[in-house]
């Protein structure tokens, strides 16, 4: 009886031991199965078709071109690889302005034939209509039903997930926004973080250190929304005045908030590493005539460099994955960032802002899971490099 208990508890413990590995597998599986679904979607909304007149030499259009045409950024077929002919955009709602209600029938039973008529009559037309209405396609060219290409997503520079007829899922602006904000955050946090950790581990008296250490730990525990709230109330208006910006919500505001948030992580890890430098090494250096500062930067820092690097990389990881604070202060404009003073948008903020509105199981929803996959791999890469850096120690 005792043996059975002993054995079953052992199995229970073993199972718990693998729980984290199991969760990571589950995360990968669920994120991937949703995210990969994006590439099974078609570039045009489901159930709709984009149709051209048969005399038009254009055969295929990319999602980007379709969007530009319907936004009327492209107004001539020449720009889309066709002949010199003005583009006529036709949506289902335009039907009512061309034909009277009698012509269409009380139940819109003639809508299909009228659409066909319109397309046949206009050579430069591009029509976006429900597939069910356009059953007879003689003399009409419909765009081939292509799925969203991987290249357009991973190398696309436009993020318009709710555009019709063809949404754009280019992740580059979001990826660039994330890296841009994190880069500046670390740039700001680095000198402060290093100085604080040197001060705490080498210079400050035990008394000062005993006050500083719990304060830094406390700051590590303060929720990110509180930092975001502070950023929104104080930092954003301050930056707006300082640089005379139209809106204060900007990449720089995000970087400042992230720098404050990444500081405790950097300081705790780096300080720990410096304190682990053995006393004998310091004493040897001092005995050779080096003073305290020379000992710090010639002995202590080189000795603990892998720990310091781990701290910095962990800080980067925190900055890249931070959601709420960044969502609140960066202004959320999904464009390629050109200046740190302009609004931009990061991957986590995009997921948080858009998932609530994206209908479950559709392309937009899946694209957000794809962003989750990308974020997962960025942080996995960061964590593995921390692992690698700290395993090289000694």
């Amino acid at each position: 009886m005792k043996k059975i208990l002993e054995q079953s508890v052992k199995y229970l413990f073993t199972a718990s031991g693998f729980i984290t590995s199991f969760i990571i597998l589950l995360i990968i599986f669920f994120l991937f199965s949703e995210g990969a679904g994006l590439f099974r979607n078609h570039i045009i909304d489901d159930g709709y078709v984009v149709a051209l007149n048969k005399s038009n030499p254009v055969n295929t259009l990319s999602a980007n071109q379709i969007k530009e045409i319907f936004d009327e950024d492209i107004t001539n077929w020449q720009e889309a690889g066709g002949e010199d002919e003005p583009i006529q955009v036709f949506r289902l709602s335009d039907l009512l302005s061309i034909y009277s209600e009698e012509e269409l029938g009380s139940e819109y039973e003639h809508a299909g034939s009228k659409i066909k008529e319109t397309i046949l009559q206009n050579e430069g037309i591009i029509a976006f209509v429900p597939k069910s209405l356009l059953t007879d396609t003689e003399g009409i060219k419909t765009m081939p039903d292509q799925t969203i290409p991987v290249k357009d997503v991973l190398a696309g520079t436009e993020w318009f997930p709710t555009a019709t007829p063809s949404p754009l899922f280019g992740i580059l602006p979001l990826l660039a926004g994330t890296l841009w904000v994190s880069f500046f955050a670390i740039l700001i946090a680095l000198p402060f973080g290093l100085c604080v950790s040197i001060y705490m581990s080498e210079i400050a008296s035990e008394k000062v250190r005993n006050v500083l250490k719990p304060v830094i730990e406390l700051l590590n525990g303060i929720p990110s929304v509180v930092y975001g709230f502070f950023g929104l109330i104080v930092i954003v208006p301050f930056l707006q005045q300082l640089f005379n910006l139209p809106v204060g919500e900007s990449g720089l505001a995000g970087s400042l908030v992230l720098a404050i948030m990444a500081l405790p992580t950097i300081v705790t890890v780096a300080e720990d590493a410096m304190r682990n430098c053995p006393r004998s090494m310091r004493e040897a250096s001092l005995a050779l005539g080096a003073n305290k500062w020379q000992t710090i930067y010639k002995v202590v820092i080189p000795y603990s460099i892998s720990g310091i690097t781990s701290g910095i990389v962990l800080g980067i990881g925190r900055a890249v994955g931070e959601t709420m604070a960044v969502l609140m202060v960066t202004g959320n404009a999904a464009v390629m960032p050109t200046s740190i003073l302009e609004p931009l948008r990061t991957i986590p903020a995009t997921i948080a802002a858009e998932l609530g509105e994206a209908p479950t199981g559709e392309a937009h929803y899946q694209s957000l899971f794809l962003l989750g996959v990308i974020l997962f791999f960025i942080t996995l890469f960061i964590n593995l490099s921390v692992e690698y850096i700290s395993s090289r120690k000694r």
């Binding site: 604080v196 406390l218 109330i233």
Partner: protein, 295 residues
């Protein structure tokens, strides 16, 4: 003669360098402390005016421009309790396995790496995962149980790591002594190892609760309700939560100006929770440290 004066010059330069470097370190550290203190003071001063008994015990009113934050406090407590039920037993058992049972060094390193990776995954990814598996796949819907499970998984690495480190510090002689007396491995763990490790394990548990209380991203799509004046009646209900409530008050709603004082109050309540949790963790650490010494 010039060579003779060299060491002296050098040493003066050395001292000057040291002075400059130390001054820099001190100035930047002071800067950081001032910034951090001003953040805390700013929220404390603005928030303290709002907080009173009614603020803590009443539901929001007038489209969130009046009333208190009672449902949000209760919701956060529910989520903390729920995630504790999920993560405490599993986390502690996992830590025990890694230090007491696992014999293969490579395997332990692998598990430790996975635990570190899990702790580095951004909270919004946990939110996505929780939504995919608990809300949609297991069909719990937006509910306290889905939120608690998501937060529980998020807080696992902290618990596992502190448990493992607490156990690692217990000398092997204790284990060997117990086994030599005829105790089984389970008896040794239960009667000898765990009692010794309890203070540090509890510290880890408390700190994990601190993290849970402040997380917003994981509950955005698994649990948190925008506005819900009544309290949840079962674990399959949605609930309000303090961090999400602060986010809502700060960024959306009917009247941002009028909401701001309430937002300050909510932020202060969140900081107070974190403060209490940190003080409790430190207190327990100190209390047990003294106890061990006197024994």
């Amino acid at each position: 003669m010039s060579t003779l004066s060299f060491p002296e010059n050098n040493s003066r330069r050395k001292t000057l360098n040291q002075k400059i470097a130390f001054a820099c370190c001190f100035a930047l550290s002071l800067c950081v402390v001032l910034v951090l203190a001003s953040i805390l003071l700013f929220i404390i001063i603005k928030g303290i005016r709002v907080i009173n008994w009614d603020f803590i015990t009443q539901a929001p009113a007038d489209g969130m421009t009046g009333g208190g934050i009672f449902p949000a406090i209760i919701g956060t407590l529910c989520l903390m309790a729920g995630s504790a039920i999920v993560s405490f037993p599993v986390g502690i058992m996992s830590g025990i396995y890694m230090n007491e049972y696992a014999t293969n060094g490579k395997l332990v390193r692998f598990i430790r790496m996975m635990t570190n990776n899990l702790s580095g995954i951004p909270s919004i990814v946990f939110g996505l995962f929780g939504m995919a598996i608990f809300v949609n796949y297991l069909d719990f819907g937006d509910s306290i149980i889905a939120g608690s499970l998501t937060l529980g998984l998020l807080s696992l690495p902290v618990i596992i790591r502190t448990t493992e480190e607490a156990l690692k510090d217990i000398p092997d002689s204790m284990r060997e002594g117990s086994r030599a007396l005829g105790a089984t491995q389970l008896q040794t763990i239960w009667n000898v190892i765990l009692p010794m490790a309890v203070p540090r394990v509890i510290t880890g548990l408390i700190l994990s609760m601190g993290r849970v209380s402040g997380e917003t991203a994981p509950i955005l799509f698994t649990c948190a309700a925008y506005f819900l004046p009544q309290l949840p009646s079962s674990i399959f209900d949605q609930c309000m939560a303090l961090p999400y409530h602060l986010y809502v008050l700060a960024t959306s709603g009917t009247d941002l100006e009028k909401q701001q004082p309430i937002a300050y109050g909510t932020a202060l309540v969140l900081i107070i929770i974190v403060l209490i949790i940190n003080l409790a963790a430190n207190g327990i650490r100190k209390y047990f440290a003294n106890k061990v010494k006197t024994n």
